[in-house]
Symmetry: C2
């Protein structure tokens, strides 16, 4: 836990910001700013020098133009639920909060799209179009609070992205204020727009290329039928093999999730989803026309039994189905019942390497004497190992951080990646150097520079230090995690 | 038709190129170079100063390093089937032909991907994996000759992209030689790779960001059943309404194509697909599990009848189905039976604006006295109006070009785009200024500059002249189409 000293901006800049967003849109009191000193990565905190709460694109543009003129760093913030420190302010920088830009601007059912402001909460989208038979597909576990602006910045995923794709699949167009203060439109109303796909670059760029101020999203027709199956296995390897067999049978479930014994227990204690108690629980959701779902569910149940499932239970009502998902989505928070503290990690491996990576995690866990519980988006090969620890025991937090980053290293070594959906942010910036070669990173950096020549848009995130090229370096301040010895891992 | 004078490169550069690719890999004779003076956009021709035929990434890298050192423009070329002049050489520039890089390097069935060199022909991919039950989905009409490298450069589409997505959906990773001569890897073996999605920027960048030398592609499990329906309507509006109704019923066909009376007649004459003679033929292909296809096909037939289809005929054998597609894919070439010359245009509109755009096309067609026949990827709103003319009548070619570009302007005015799948290239570079605002284009240009600071990678394509920023301008040479009065349209 580290809190910087509070450095107010010069009066001339504050005056410009106030002119941009009005007196009630500018926060400068320490007590007000503290809300914004971290996001879901609570281990690192920096007090912003100010927070602005714009009400329109024009106000955002005025704020960013002020920042560009005075070379002040800014970071956009939605609900602050990110887990990698993406919304952490820069030292001396400001926060642009989207708490007042929460309008659904347009719903176009015929063309299956809606246009919203960045502060709209993820599941408000579905709430708005559900009466007409549509839904918004990406469903991060935090969907009841997280905002679309943050989802775009992080290319948010979720259990149903196996079938429906990540946020990037669902963003059709963006209005963006560039770090230079220019307003641009990325994407086009039609498919395969000519020119460069800058929409795809922006989605998942973690706030380093500018600020999205309007977001046009694809909405999807609700399937006729949705069914979820719970299958209980004696080992995660058997559950994992079932996942591979289902994909090989050309069945694409809406979701395939695995929870291990510890996760099952904690979810059960937290929200009572009535899961079977077993080593590995496989949740398989199928959706589509009723005839297809019925047919495929038969095949899926057979594949579960072939791989040793000793129970395969369908949720029979919508209420039962929602309870199954409530348990799964509560898995992270429920880890609080297993230990005073925990780190939710996020790595990706090729689906076929699942047993191998689990062996390695078990071995590493044993070596350092900390428990790790595992929840996976199994169809995607996206692991969420949860490292359990007790911060009140001196040194244990650091061991937990080291273990969680070590798991990522294993993922990369097995041909995977350091993040599936949580982003790099501040947390994993050093890991990028382990994942990418220097020319690959340098190319990304040049693109960043093309958008943000002054390096003011969420600086010091995403890329490893020392900086690579074209960017001002400034005095080097060691990373709080680095000083604690993380460098040995990456 | 315009052919530049042949300007040989200085001996020192030729020696470097020969050192890079060997004597038999370097073409400099005028008679050899003439093959490379244009692609499918035959109206513009430029003789390259040399052609190299590398056999490996290392050779490509050596060639590009030579180009970077001496500031020589280069363009990569596969089969030269592009329709927008994407593979047209720059004046004094060289062509990098991938005719000798045609290996399928790796097939990974478990992870449903394959890695290939850029010179591999599109349908060789499916031929290779079909025995194992897989296929490569994007299917441009030229798929029997066009190469994957060109497909990546243009983000190629095809009839089945309605369900399966464009090339960009299927590219998982690229090895790229940047215009600086550096070798980088874009994308990652796993989903949602951290950092910027530069893979998405590169796909469809039309050769302006470098040269792909290895391409990793997704392959798809062959569906259990494929069925194609031919429905005959008395008007294109009714066929178009059927398309909207099918999508609204949450049915996603593998393909939905409309052909008008002229296209039907010419296809019939060319390959005898036995189409019903009507004002508008709707081809609907469904694929998936047999039970699902049967169920959905019943719904589709009902929707066709509800909209006035007086015939709805299923292809009963695989041979019949292939014949249906042979007719559709022959539609462009068959236009040669309707007139001595024709221009295949490529625009996109929101699906719901189809009747409106067809009225406008009919009106414009009448005004200038040239026939236009229409073939659409109707599900995607992607039009291919074919403008028929006779180049031997003085002035008629220019009227045809003006009409074809005028149709694009209508597409943009209705909220659409100037290209669905053929690319911008040289043909439509001026149209980009009609489609995008200056800051949008300028942002793309800065990204281009980040990849290609010397502006040597397929220069003078994609962006309108005059150039926007950060790029050397050089003496202005008027566009062959511009001098002929196209500027009035864009």
């Amino acid at each position: 836990m580290k809190t910087q000293d509070h450095a107010l901006l010069p009066a001339v800049i504050l005056a410009e910001l106030e002119a941009a967003v009005g007196r009630d849109g500018l926060l400068v009191e320490r007590s007000q700013l503290q809300t914004y000193e971290c996001d879901g990565l609570t281990a690192i905190r920096t007090l912003p020098s100010a927070v602005v709460l714009p009400r329109s694109t024009a106000q955002v543009q005025a704020v960013v133009q002020t920042c560009a003129r005075h070379k002040i760093a800014f970071v956009a913030r939605g609900a602050g639920t990110g887990l990698s420190g993406g919304a952490l302010p820069a030292e001396g920088g400001i926060v642009i909060s989207f708490a007042r830009m929460t309008e659904i601007l347009n719903v176009d059912l015929v063309n299956q799209r809606m246009t919203v402001q960045p502060g709209v909460i993820n599941n408000h989208l579905t709430a708005r179009v559900a009466p007409h038979g549509y839904f918004y597909a990406p469903d991060p576990s935090s969907q009841s609070v997280c905002t679309i602006g943050g989802n775009v910045a992080e290319n948010a995923g979720g259990a149903h992205c196996l079938k429906y794709g990540f946020t990037t699949t669902h963003v059709l167009g963006l209005e963006v204020v560039l770090p230079t203060g220019e307003k641009v439109h990325l994407g086009a109303p039609t498919l395969d727009a000519p020119g460069y796909d800058l929409l795809g670059v922006f989605v998942g760029s973690e706030g380093t290329l500018g600020v999205a101020t309007e977001i046009t999203l694809r909405i999807v027709k609700k399937p006729e039928t949705v069914q979820v199956l719970l299958a209980a296995f004696d080992s995660i390897a058997c559950a994992g093999q079932t996942v591979s067999d289902i994909i090989a049978a050309a069945i694409l479930p809406a979701a395939m999730e695995i929870m291990d014994r510890l996760s099952i227990q904690s979810a059960e204690a937290a929200v009572h989803p009535n899961y079977p108690v077993c080593e590995a629980l496989l949740l398989i959701e199928l959706d589509g026309p009723a005839a297809e779902v019925a047919l495929q569910m038969d095949q899926v149940r057979q594949l579960c039994r072939d791989n040793g499932a000793w129970e395969d239970r369908l949720a029979h009502t919508e209420r039962e189905r929602m309870l199954v998902w409530k348990g799964r989505k509560a898995a992270f928070a429920a880890a609080g019942r297993l230990a005073p503290n925990y780190i939710v990690q996020d790595g990706v491996i090729p689906r076929t390497r699942l047993p191998e990576v689990l062996d390695r995690i078990a071995q590493m866990s044993q070596e350092v004497g900390l428990q790790v519980t595992n929840v996976f988006h199994a169809g995607d090969g996206n692991l969420h190992p949860i490292v359990l620890y007790d911060a009140s025991i001196p040194g244990q937090e650091q061991i937990a951080v080291n273990l969680s980053l070590g798991i990522l290293r294993v993922c990369v070594d097995l041909g995977g990646s350091i993040t599936g959906e949580h982003g790099v942010g501040r947390e994993k910036q050093e890991s990028m150097g382990y994942m990418y070669a220097e020319p690959d990173l340098s190319t990304m950096h040049r693109v960043r520079h093309a958008f943000d020549p002054e390096n003011i848009s969420n600086p010091d995130k995403l890329f490893p230090r020392p900086r690579l090229c074209g960017e001002k370096t400034g005095p080097y301040t060691p990373h709080p995690l680095e000083t604690a010895g993380i460098a040995e891992y990456f």
